[in-house]
Amino acid sequence: MYKILGSDQQEYGPVTAEQLSQWVAEGRANAQSLVKPEQGGEWRPMGSYPEFARALENAPVPRAFDPVLPGENNPGSAPGIPNYLVQSILVTICCCLPIGIVAVIFAAQVNTKLQAGDIEGAMKASQNARLWCWIGLIAGLITTVVYLFLYGRGEIPR
């Protein structure tokens, strides 16, 4: 007989090994679930119990509506290479410097290279998009601060 911590952090059991295997099949427990033998022993992940190896192997695959994380179950999908598109757009519109357009161009390049399967190129474009977002943001902040400073001293002609 075993006790198990559910995903709600509540303790369940003691139940038989068959019942636990059933719970695995129903998606109520998985290899990460903490399990403890009723007679002493400590909480260990279910995956470390050889007696449940078979049940865990036959565990249901994630349901169709579960989002698939990039690179996790579908190696064909794009890995998590950010294109910083929203940051680029914000820099373009808010920082009043054409630097943002450069960032948007690199953001577009990230997706182009990803579609072509050029992971290395996409990562490079991603880094460039990030760099230009920062350049635009910092340039925008500096000019704004300088402006407000000059405004405060009454040096802005109107």
């Binding site: 009043c96 943002g100 357009i101 579609q115």
Partner: protein, 156 residues
């Protein structure tokens, strides 16, 4: 023992949502600063019309070149939007108004990615769309600087 007969004695089905990582403090602080800043900014923008107040920063690009950058007129457009004047907002900066829903969606996606480790369930945008966006921004930047009807109405 048939656990199904005793409601509450069966662990719930594990959903991926219950496995969300703890949100780092830095992200929370940033989010708080962002929200407070947005609300304060919106309040100031609502109360003070940028065309009649002189404390709003002026676009450096505009001051140096006298040209309108793609962002020029954003504050005025936001002021008009906050007062519900969509047409006036479009006249001040059509690009900003048109991109606002896109910005909202992308921003929500970004924030969700950072806070629960997974964004909205949207596929990566096709690269062609992003190049269309680049073309749109460039065209907008060019056209709003042409001193010709009807393009000059794109200028703020």
């Amino acid at each position: 023992m048939d656990a199904e007969k005793y409601p509450g004695s069966v662990p719930p089905v594990i959903s991926r949502r219950s496995h969300s990582r703890a949100v780092p403090v830095g992200v929370l602080v940033l989010a708080a600063v962002f929200v407070i800043g947005s609300v304060l900014g919106a309040a100031v923008l609502y109360r003070f019309d940028p065309t009649r107040s002189d404390f709003y920063p002026i676009c450096t690009f505009h001051q140096v070149t006298e040209l309108h950058c793609p962002g020029c007129g954003t504050l005025r457009a936001a002021h008009q939007l906050l007062h519900g004047n969509l047409l006036a907002a479009l006249q001040k900066n059509a690009l900003f108004v048109l991109l606002l829903p896109v910005i909202g969606l992308l921003l929500a996606n970004f924030i969700l990615e950072r806070t629960r480790g997974r964004g909205l369930r949207v596929r990566p945008l096709p690269a062609a769309w992003l190049w269309a966006l680049v073309a749109l921004i460039l065209a907008f930047s060019l056209l709003r600087n042409l001193p010709l009807v009807p393009f000059n109405s794109l200028a703020p």
